[in-house]
Symmetry: C2
Subunit: 287 residues, 2 copies
């Protein structure tokens, strides 16, 4: 489980770093970014909790790191940020000319169909391999939260709902809430998982919320000027499912905001404070 | 003086906007970005002060808008941010294959040499045309501050030092402090102004600081892991010149920081608060 440091830049008294490693799950070389608050960039004995951020269509680990302005609050609260790429990458990795399938569009699923199944296993990568890598190489504890945007908001909700024992809290900006019933989801889930739609339900937050037994706190933020709101995101499906089954999701609707990183930057402090309440509660992780 | 709105996106309860206009100074079409805090995006009678931000080599108006995280404090303090492009642009505009001359590298001078002099008049554009345009189209008052990064830090220092009556305060991140004596400056000033180096001095902050009569407050922030520090930036030349002539420049040296926007993002709050002290002092601009 070796990782190779590509760059390390000081940010808010900590370090913003990028790494490369070989992923055995994805069967290719992968990049990820890490923000280490002051004290986490050296061996001082303290172990920090981690927020995993899953990005949206076409993004890499760079977009959130450069545009969200999350380091300021991560530094203040003492939270490590881990930002993976959005899909397997490379010349040997299957791809598609469109932006919403193939590289940059992993949708955080384990593909079962050709030509995708050889590499497209982002679900296992995020749930298993990446946390093991982070916990083996950085001064972090096993308190994890998960968040993301758009396709990554979908990923955060799905992964958090299916693995409540692994995450203290879940949040999402502008998530694809009901992918089995929107064009992005139908295209990607059909390609990666095949025509049998019952398999798709394992990756649909609006379905999974009704199956959840162990409830984790969830915060969802949505702008009402989001250009993808009605056709692709369908937050009303998740909100209705949560109400029906009594899952206490905190929905925040923000007037005038769109789908961009300007929206994320405006409310990332609120999301980090939300996660901090759970990540840092009864924190006896100091060694 | 008509301007055309290209985009408007909500950010921290205000609006992040991009505009296009025809510049009579630069003789081409130009883009600029504006951040309007809440209340400045509608006609409510209040007039806001403005911080002009000048970006560095290869940048457009997008880099600072997306990466600096300045909107949060601009919203809190009630300051309009105006971010111009770094040079004239277009197919008809002279250019050079290298990144440090031509488009993206205007160095905020009025060129006197062929083929540059037809368009490369960024000094006049920033000092005269752009403020007139902003003050004619937005609810702003005539309190202006100026800041910038690298080549734009040079621009902010030069323009502020030469026009103290127009700016309340001046700041710079990692500025090119002594362009007449560094490779970037020698190349650009030689091309734009010709071989006679006495003309270059009008665009050298370390020379101008000694000629300044009306002193405005200046803040300069510099990281000590900046890859351009010794060869290109030469802050010691400005610091020494300021000490010799008794100009009270506040220099801040930050350990571990490099030349990137991660450095700017870490200290933009401090710069905005510095300018706010002067921009908002005795503010009777409410109508």
């Amino acid at each position: 489980m070796s990782i190779e440091l590509i760059s390390s830049v000081r940010s808010f008294s900590g370090q913003q770093q990028q790494y490369r490693h070989h992923s055995s799950t994805l069967n290719c070389s992968m990049h990820f970014s890490v923000y280490l608050p002051q004290g986490a960039d050296s061996e001082q004995g303290h172990h920090f909790p981690v927020l995993y951020w899953l990005s949206g269509l076409t993004c890499t680990d760079a977009n959130f790191s450069q545009k969200a302005g999350a380091q300021r609050m991560a530094a203040e609260l003492g939270i490590v940020l881990v930002v993976p790429d959005t899909s397997p990458r490379g010349e040997d990795v299957a791809d598609d000319p469109s932006y919403d399938l193939g590289q940059g569009a992993g949708f955080y699923v384990n593909a079962t169909q050709d030509p995708w199944k050889q590499h497209y296993r982002m679900y296992d990568y995020i749930v298993e391999e990446l946390p093991a890598l982070i916990e083996g190489n950085f001064p972090v504890n096993q308190r994890r939260a998960i968040s993301g945007h758009s396709m990554g908001g979908h990923g955060a909700l799905v992964i958090g709902l299916r693995n409540p024992e692994r995450y203290t809290s879940i949040s999402a900006f502008s998530p694809i809430c009901n992918p089995i019933a929107c064009p992005w989801g139908e295209k990607a889930l059909g390609a990666y998982l095949g025509a049998e739609t019952t398999h798709w339900e394992e990756y649909d937050a609006s379905v999974l919320v009704g199956r959840a037994i162990n409830h984790r706190p969830i915060l969802v933020s949505q702008g009402d000027k989001d250009e993808f709101l009605e056709q692709q995101l369908r937050p009303e499906a998740l909100q209705m499912a949560a109400e029906v089954c009594g899952y206490p999701i905190r929905f925040e609707h923000h007037g005038g905001y769109d789908h961009s990183y300007y929206f994320i930057a405006s409310f990332i402090e609120e999301h980090l404070r939300f996660h901090a309440d759970f990540l840092l509660k009864n924190d006896h992780s100091d060694s």
